[in-house]
Symmetry: D2
Subunit: 142 residues, 4 copies
Amino acid sequence: MKILESTIEIAVRFSETDAMGVVWHGNYLKFFEDAREKFGEEHGLEYLDVYGEGFYTPIVKSDINHKASVYYGQKVLVKATLEYHQASKIVFKYVVTNRATNAIAATGSTTQVFLGVKDNLLALIKPPFILDWEAKQNWKEV
Amino acid sequence: MKILESTIEIAVRFSETDAMGVVWHGNYLKFFEDAREKFGEEHGLEYLDVYGEGFYTPIVKSDINHKASVYYGQKVLVKATLEYHQASKIVFKYVVTNRATNAIAATGSTTQVFLGVKDNLLALIKPPFILDWEAKQNWKEV
Amino acid sequence: MKILESTIEIAVRFSETDAMGVVWHGNYLKFFEDAREKFGEEHGLEYLDVYGEGFYTPIVKSDINHKASVYYGQKVLVKATLEYHQASKIVFKYVVTNRATNAIAATGSTTQVFLGVKDNLLALIKPPFILDWEAKQNWKEV
Amino acid sequence: MKILESTIEIAVRFSETDAMGVVWHGNYLKFFEDAREKFGEEHGLEYLDVYGEGFYTPIVKSDINHKASVYYGQKVLVKATLEYHQASKIVFKYVVTNRATNAIAATGSTTQVFLGVKDNLLALIKPPFILDWEAKQNWKEV
């Protein structure tokens, strides 16, 4: 199966560090968001496009595993890989690497669903525009 | 002139500290927001009421003066005082006191304007509901 | 087994909402932190005490499950329950309830480890002060 | 007089928007920080260098003037210009331009002082390393 992924480099903000001198654990969800954003840009699946198709894609689940600290002044690479699922959801896996040490700082995942902008209802099957997008990417289970 | 003010106690969050071990300077704008919120509750001028009257009240100006650091584990008192203005705007002054030391940690101010929810236009004169609210508070220049 | 838990009420900040009009998903980790803090206060296990004993307790793992949105102007109750573990780690489970609707907004968990302040080494067995604290709480597996 | 400035492009994060659908006003201080950072990189005056010289440079004053909203999906250019001062302080002026509209979104300024890492004392006159840096930049009042 084709692997769909994107990687973004992020310079850690001073405001993102905490009194232990490292990036506050919750800020990794912002880094994941940046990587999803980059994925959207590179693979033609941007938030505003999805919204244009009548859907929000709220996060319903997220997890982070911290492996090593990231300090102020360091940069990280965040790789987002889309996982194929039959079900009507979007699952990304993330790997955050500290550029200063080449060590993995964190891994994680997020799950999003499709929610109708007008009716606020959950799309129980994949919306047609997503099936089209998957076909265009030659993105399928094997 | 009557003084309209409200005070709120805030326990500093660990996520609000930075690598210098103190509350990151930008987070004081969140403390100001909490104090405005408390003011709205206590004086009957809540964000959602204002929205119900057809207005947003975006911040157009803010400033902060830092006097002393606040450390994790400390609590602050934030006092918001409404300043009377003839012009169609809302101006709050703030004083942030560190409860652990009784020292003033910061002062500041914010200016908000009235923006129509429907037309996105600036209200150049005070909206009637604000004049009513001021009358009810016996809130006027002397 | 005795259940050790604490609950805190949090008024959602305007700055914590996002362009979908609801609390941004990552901010729940701040709510979890507030609940841990409250737990520390109520059960005598505060961050600064732990630091005084020579340990940091960094988060190594966290997850959030979102069940329903929380809107600006609403308050949430966050309950943190400590889970008993033989291993040298601190595991909290969280339930976030929307006070306006009584619906569960989110659940989640965090895992913390003990890291020596001086040597930066992981404590592979529970530090003595924690065993003392557990004994005092009559906190044990049954 | 030579003008010392740096400009950085920032993609607005979804988590930085608020329930009015625009970037939350306080987040501009993060954009200012990014621009200072860029300035430090480009002009050889990085936070960690300054720390290495024995000084913190905490923000003691900041202000923001908002001119127009920035929406999710938009990018901003933030220009930081260093202002020459005889006094022992660092003053930056900022201009935030919305790339999507070319409109100025905000302007602002920050003032930093030199605080000794060891003694926590304010440097009432410019530290020697700053005078050296100014000389190297041919940075002086005329």
